[in-house]
Symmetry: C2
Subunit: 366 residues, 2 copies
Amino acid sequence: MTDDRRAAGTPTLEDVARAAGVSRATVSRVINGVRNVDPVIQEAVRQAVSVTGYTPNRAARSLVTRRADAVALVVSGAGIEPEAAPEASGNGSEAGTSGDGNSFTAQVFADPFFGRVVTGVVNYLRPRGMHPVLMFAESSRAREEVVAYLRQGSADGALVVSTHAEDPLPALLAEAGLAAVLFARPARPVPVSYVDLAHQDGARLAAEHLLGRGCRRTATISGPLDVPAGQARLTGFRDTMARHGHPYIPVAEGQFTQESGEAAMERLLAEHPDLDGVFAANDLMALGACHVLREHGRSVPGDVAVVGFDDSSAALACRPPLTTVRQPVEGMAAEMTRLLLDRLARPDGPVTSVIFEPELVVRGSA
Amino acid sequence: MTDDRRAAGTPTLEDVARAAGVSRATVSRVINGVRNVDPVIQEAVRQAVSVTGYTPNRAARSLVTRRADAVALVVSGAGIEPEAAPEASGNGSEAGTSGDGNSFTAQVFADPFFGRVVTGVVNYLRPRGMHPVLMFAESSRAREEVVAYLRQGSADGALVVSTHAEDPLPALLAEAGLAAVLFARPARPVPVSYVDLAHQDGARLAAEHLLGRGCRRTATISGPLDVPAGQARLTGFRDTMARHGHPYIPVAEGQFTQESGEAAMERLLAEHPDLDGVFAANDLMALGACHVLREHGRSVPGDVAVVGFDDSSAALACRPPLTTVRQPVEGMAAEMTRLLLDRLARPDGPVTSVIFEPELVVRGSA
DNA sequence: CTGAAAGCGCTAACAC
DNA sequence: GTGTTAGCGCTTTCAG
């Protein structure tokens, strides 16, 4: 409205400088909050900025600062090589699977876990004027793209959440000398920082709770055993049980999906119809287990006590609500983000890991 | 290893040009696939590229092309003004709400709907070498940031998904002349393209199905009535019922959350203990309704038939699985993305809207 | 068909 | 304190 606008498109530093009667450098200083600028001039510049409606051009800035002020949030999958379609979870008209050939992304978001990661990341990034670029890396081609993206300088670093063990991405990033931080310890050691949960302690809490309620014939639905977290939760549960006089615990392996939890529960029930307690390695599987138990005429927690893991929204979606081991995902994601920004600030800083402690949340199911 | 690398950091066009014995311009042409380049030279350049390990610098390219090759995926919320904390959904130790003050992001991902949007967007963007930047715009400050982000040229356009009516963001973007496409028609007309579902048709399908099964005393749990989708689903349901001789249909308003669905079902049951059919405006609320019905000793679908809406993963998490109205979210999100890219290619193209048809998916609950 | 050269908008030495 | 000046790495006329 204030016909101050030149013929040109968006205003540039030059325009602001002219309007304020100073040099580009000075305007730049004011905008970037560099000290040593006369307060009077500062004010004049600010005026000029608002009059011209100036917004700094990110590309130009990045070109010289060599910072994109963006990070990639990568969900990395299995080492599926060429275009291989993920299996697991039925296909066809199943909810959330429709249309799109690639169901990896769909599967990822089926677990409330990932939404919580996003929440934690975004909440840490936002106050710092940064935003995550969402990427999926489930094929080797996709992984190359992630690496290329970072090498191009489109993002300053990567936050990677692996859904499978043996994920090659962390190593690729490390080799390329790119900044990255992982959610969960990699299956094979890689010189990259990560945050993780004390999974064994969590499983111990679950075991002790079940024992405390008087369960004597417990079984467990484990996560995928090639994933460190799945393995650790199983080990923790077994060890605690063994220490309390229960050396043998029936195990059915699941894949962290509700469906696999249902199948696992069916197997467990078939072989051990008299069980009175179940520890599922995540809430989604616990939810599936509850459904199956009910279908088989078992009441929860009356006949069988069920303990989940994560404390995701699925825990509350269940009836009765799940007693579960809380994993502070949002906090862990925020810490992961903090570690990455730290590293960007000091590229030679040490590689570290931060381990969070789980907490038992007692609700109705056990 | 091939000690070709100069002292400098990442290789630049200049380096490739030198290695190939041509000019920067030629290398640029080859990389950008411009015709009119001698095949022999092309090959030489490609060699040089792989030898040097060259990756184009995105900032430098953006600076001249004025394209970021990135789009913002914005989840836009209510018109909450200053730092106001969202209410709804209890606090404290509730799942998914822990720690972080701002629960907007957490709430967003609690509905599987959003994950499906992401899936659709990513699947369309990826083959085109683009990735979405995730942003939340639940406060006026956050909205300004989104606008600033686009004005800075960090993203070429925005895909916006509003969770509430009266969202001011679409208008802000339109005024600023920024490219955007919406998921769902805005409550107030705004000159921006959008994709949407024929909500009334979907509700009609649900009504007809309930009638077809012989339900005579149906009620509905509506979505928030200030949201066009909530309103349309209610209207569609009521109209169809009226047309079939049921002019009065009990309604309880929900907020599209499982919790609100439970509360609504409680109210409905208190006033109409004899109802035999329920249409919930989304699956999450239908899930809540099923739980409450069971707690009150009603079997589903034996005593009360329940139909949901969306066909999200919640539909399968329910026992029995929900009969529901499928909304092709992934396809809609992909189309929304296509519309945005179209618009970026032809900024003067027409503002359009694409309406998708819903489909009834019959499962166990009705 | 290829090269030379002019910037894109900004920051950061370096002078004054 | 502030202005001048040199690029950051790339695309793109414009000559040849």
